[in-house]
């Protein structure tokens, strides 16, 4: 059995163990989850070490690494042909950094769930299922398999938010679920359309294989999504454009882009701290990954045509998210809106269609992954102690919680893009890419890069303003002496979760080659695929 399959399905063993063990040993569930997640981290780091950065592998199957292909569903449909679904997983430079990020953020999530007392069996079981689904999404190269993992991911999240969440948890859970599901069922239509448009050159049957869908030669002539000479239209819109838009819509809900983002503040705020960590750290990146892997690789002609609009959406997300974050009074909601803003950078970078822009977008995803996880963890620290997150209820926390203040200050500065930290590399490269796009004639005007920079300025505004309000000055707390005694400084477990994240932000900020080295070839290959259509 391949290493990648072990990585994906290891949490299912943990799930089985947790379900089977009786509630009398419920203290062991978190240890089981921790052990299996640590194993996953070990495997992902081993994969990272053995990954060949020079192999690009974006649209050629043989170039993918840790490849596993097993024929899964082979149904003879009589006159229509054969249904061909494979269990096809593999890694290239775009999915590898996200795999390592996922295992790390999952570990942070387990660390944050250490004091979960309400139905721990269900909680940790669902967390393990989520773990499997998330790893599977990043590795899957067969569209059907991808879709299965995508839907499996929604299911545990609905319960995790809806049962273990805050005050308005049912509303947030169903809003999140239905919003994301709307996108993915529309994606199912396009999947089926693509299935009927693509022929596997080896077997002659229709296929769900994503790599075959990326090759224009595999398309049936005259099919709905064929590349060449396609006259199909839906309400006057070319068929390939509709396919791209629907697929983009599905992933855009997850990124999230601005008109479709309203699930995020509610889901992030009402979810318990570990679930917020996983939501912000991993799930938002699935949107970005989907745009690159599915929309851009399968529809490169449409990518070249629509990138101006994607960049505009990115800019709007950046500025709108940042301005909204500035208006927040709830700390967790502020960080949720800052996530919207930072993911706007990812979309801007992707839309710039330059090597710097795409690399910056990928790097921003990685950096934002653990920085936002650290941010939500820090909010959780306060909330665990006093069950209140209102910014105006706290003042001068630095004198009573110095270690916490230091961590918050570092993470805030890292998030806003201080040079030396990873977010600076991500944002700087995105802006460089957007700026260069005009000279490379990819269709992005210079003013979009300038608008992106204003986003960085606004993020400094809301982060530092919050830092000042809550931490500096004389200590004045809404809850008075009861809060003063409850607000103890960071304990060892919390430091154990935070210090690796902060050090990783610093290390990646100083040595971005750790990530860039692995994804450079894939990014260049992706641009090569799209360039002919620019």
């Amino acid at each position: 059995m391949g290493l990648l399959s072990i990585l994906i399905f290891l949490p299912l063993i943990a799930l089985a163990l947790i379900l089977v063990l009786p509630s009398t040993v419920k203290a062991s569930y978190k240890y089981i989850s921790l052990v299996f997640t640590l194993l996953q981290l070990g495997i992902s780091l081993y994969i990272y070490q053995n990954f060949q950065g020079a192999q690009a592998g974006v649209n050629s199957l043989s170039d993918f690494q840790f490849l596993e292909q097993v024929s899964w569903i082979r149904l003879d449909l009589g006159s229509i042909g054969k249904l061909e679904i494979d269990y096809l997983i593999g890694l290239d430079g775009i999915s590898l950094p996200l795999i390592v990020l996922s295992s790390l953020v999952m570990l942070m999530g387990i660390g944050a769930s250490w004091n979960m007392n309400k139905s721990p069996k269900g909680y940790f079981a669902l967390l393990m299922l989520l773990n499997t689904a998330v790893m599977g999404i990043f590795c899957a190269l067969d569209f059907f398999l991808f879709y299965v993992f995508y839907e499996v991911m929604l299911f545990p999240l609905y319960f995790l938010i809806g049962i273990w969440g805050g005050e308005r948890r049912e509303y947030a859970a169903i809003k999140f679920f239905l919003y994301t599901l709307l996108g993915s069922v529309l994606m199912l239509l396009v999947i089926v359309g693509l299935y009927f448009s693509v022929i596997n050159p080896e077997s002659g049957a229709h296929t769900f294989n994503m790599l075959h869908m990326m090759n224009p030669a595999n398309y049936v002539e005259g099919s709905f999504f064929s590349f060449i000479g396609n006259y199909h239209e839906v309400f006057g819109v070319p068929a390939r454009l509709i396919g791209f838009i629907i697929l983009f819509f599905a992933f855009a809900v997850k990124v999230p882009i601005v008109p479709l983002h309203t699930w995020l503040p509610d889901a992030h705020v009402e979810a318990p701290t570990p679930v917020s960590i996983i939501l912000a750290g991993i799930l938002l990146k699935i949107g970005g990954y989907g745009i690159i892997r599915v929309c851009y690789s399968i529809f490169p002609d449409m990518a070249a045509e629509t990138n101006w609009w994607l960049a505009l959406i990115g800019i709007i997300s950046i500025l709108y998210g940042a301005l909204n974050a500035l208006a927040q009074k709830d700390l967790k909601r502020m960080i949720a809106y800052s996530s919207v803003s930072h993911m706007g950078f990812v979309l801007l970078g992707i839309a710039s269609l330059t090597a710097e822009g795409l690399s910056g977008a990928m790097f921003q995803m990685i950096s934002h992954g653990f920085l936002s996880a650290a941010l939500f963890f820090l909010v959780g620290v306060i909330y665990d102690r006093v069950h209140d997150r209102y910014i105006y209820h706290f003042r001068g926390l630095a004198s009573i919680m110095p270690k916490y203040t230091a961590c918050v200050a570092i993470v805030f500065f890292a998030s806003l893009g201080l040079p030396g930290f990873s977010a600076f590399i991500g944002e700087a490269f995105v802006i460089i890419g957007a700026f260069n796009a005009e000279s490379m004639a990819t269709g992005i005007p210079r003013w979009m890069a300038i608008a992106g920079s204003i986003g960085i300025f606004l993020s400094a505004a809301y982060f530092l303003w919050t830092l000042q309000r809550m931490f500096f000055g004389q200590t004045r707390l809404q809850g008075g002496t009861a809060w003063q005694s409850a607000l103890t400084d960071l304990n060892r477990r919390e430091l154990l979760v935070l210090v690796p994240a902060i050090s990783l932000a610093l290390i990646l900020g100083i040595m971005p080659s750790l990530v860039f080295g692995k994804l450079n070839a894939s990014i260049l290959k992706l641009i090569d695929i799209i360039n002919p259509y620019l």
Binding site: V258, H261, L323, N324, A325, L326, A327, Q328, L458
Partner: protein, 239 residues
């Protein structure tokens, strides 16, 4: 041409405000004798502060830079910074500009002495220019009002739009689907189920009517038989 003139004027102003500082702080009448007591005494600075200042003061003297006051080229600093230009240099400028600046500085100090030592200050305290200068020309207020308040207002209104308009559309969609489902439920319960119930109650009613046929009266049964017979004959005749 405007730039050198502005620089010369700024140089005069520099000399003036330094002169004002020196005159007001060190010369004239000492006005704070009542603040001095055993705890607050004025004394000379300690040697640790005096020595560096003496050194710095010494390094400000001109001979340190050039022994020829009228030849700027012989200064080691100018020789290091020398740049070959395409246009011809104006050596006379290096004579009359320093002369103008020196005369201007002396004049500025004389004016300062007149205003602050001899207390012949010509302006009143309510002078508008003095008010502006004391408030840094209200740049901070401009900044606060336009940029800070502007961005804060923009962000609160965008948050309002986010909650009421964008989320409002989501809720509108939700309410529409819920109303649709309530309408469908009404249709199902009253119309479709209604037809089923109608058929059932209709059948019951018909049965209720037909029940009266079986009343045990033989004349009724013979009457039915006769009716059917007559209908049969009529049918055979008409056919």
């Amino acid at each position: 041409m405007a730039v050198p003139i502005i620089l010369i004027i700024v140089s005069f102003l520099t000399a003036f405000y330094i002169g004002r500082l020196i005159w007001k702080t060190f010369f004239g009448n000492f006005r704070f004798a009542e603040y001095l007591d055993r705890e607050h005494r004025l004394h000379e600075a300690p040697t640790l502060m005096l020595a560096p200042m003496l050194f710095l003061a010494f390094c400000c003297l001109a001979p340190l830079f050039s022994l020829h006051p009228l030849d700027y080229h012989s200064s080691w600093l100018m020789q290091g910074l020398h740049v070959q230009t395409t246009f011809p240099a104006m050596p006379s400028a290096h004579l009359y500009i320093p002369v103008v600046l020196t005369i201007g500085a002396i004049l500025a100090w004389l004016i300062g002495w007149k205003w602050y030592i001899k207390h012949q200050y010509p302006f009143s305290q309510e002078n508008k220019l003095i008010l502006l200068a004391n408030n840094q020309f209200y740049i901070n207020e401009l900044n606060e009002r336009i940029f800070v308040k502007g961005i804060k207002r923009l962000s609160t209104s965008l948050y309002f739009i986010d909650r009421k308009v964008i989320d409002g559309l989501v809720h509108l969609f939700t309410n529409f689907i819920q109303s649709l489902s309530r309408a469908m439920h009404w249709l199902d319960k009253n119309i479709i189920d209604g037809i089923v119930n109608f058929v059932a109650s209709g059948t019951y009613y018909l049965g209720h009517l037909v029940r009266h046929v079986q009343n045990g009266q033989l004349q009724g049964y013979l009457g039915f038989a006769l009716t059917v017979l007559i209908l049969g004959f009529l049918y055979l005749i008409i056919k």
